[in-house]
Amino acid sequence: MADLESASAIAASGLRVQAARMRIISENMANADSTAVEAGGDPYRRRSLAFKSYVDKELGGEAVKVFGTRSDPTPFKVKFDPANPGAAPDGFVKLPNVDPMIELVDMREAQRAYEANLNMIESTRSMRRSTLELLRR
């Protein structure tokens, strides 16, 4: 694969991992209030993911992929809410360790990284196109 083609294919791998990151963030946001299903159990635990680079022979360069997801070990907050079905016998219910503010910032970061990769593809394409323009005059 020529350099310009592989540049846009590698940027596309960046788009894919940022999309996966967006999915994890939306899982966290959607479950920000998911308490335990059985009395005294654990609520939803926040998840985060890591990326890693790998050499793609076909693309001819180092692309990026999702390394794996991991649960956040931060302790849960508790709230006194005896009416909640997930509450322990003492009336306290554990809340998920999701902080909406952190998720919001993470989401912005994913969005910016996605846009950066899109711009990469856009510039690559315009370079190829202007090279072809040389033939047209």
Partner: protein
């Protein structure tokens, strides 16, 4: 488009063969007397390039079909389509250039 690219490329390669026969028949004494140029003819080159366009086009079609049944990824569809578009543009640009060179020769006063 009414003209399909494969038939166009066949027409080009036929034209190239005919031209070569005419050259061989006339002996082409004006052409420095050297051995004829070895290598693939323009028709072959064009045929190969169009084969590449067809295969990238098929990849794009597959990506679209997968996305339509909910299996594919939007990124895959977009990159496949843009790859197909770029390779078609390349072949078209090369073809236009070759044709304009040919027309330039045809306009030459003899």
């Amino acid at each position: 488009m009414a003209i399909d690219p494969l038939s166009a490329s066949k027409a080009y390669s036929n034209a190239a063969n005919a031209a070569r026969q005419i050259m061989d028949g006339a002996g082409a004494p004006g052409l420095a007397g050297g051995s004829p140029v070895q290598g693939p003819s323009f028709g072959d080159v064009l045929n190969q390039a169009i084969g590449g366009v067809v295969s990238t086009g098929k990849k794009a079609d597959n990506a679209i079909a997968n996305a339509a049944i909910g299996k594919g990824d939007l990124v895959d569809v977009v990159t496949a389509i843009s790859a197909a578009e770029m390779s078609l543009e390349t072949v078209v640009a090369v073809r236009d250039q070759a044709i304009s060179a040919y027309q330039e020769i045809m306009r030459m006063p003899i």
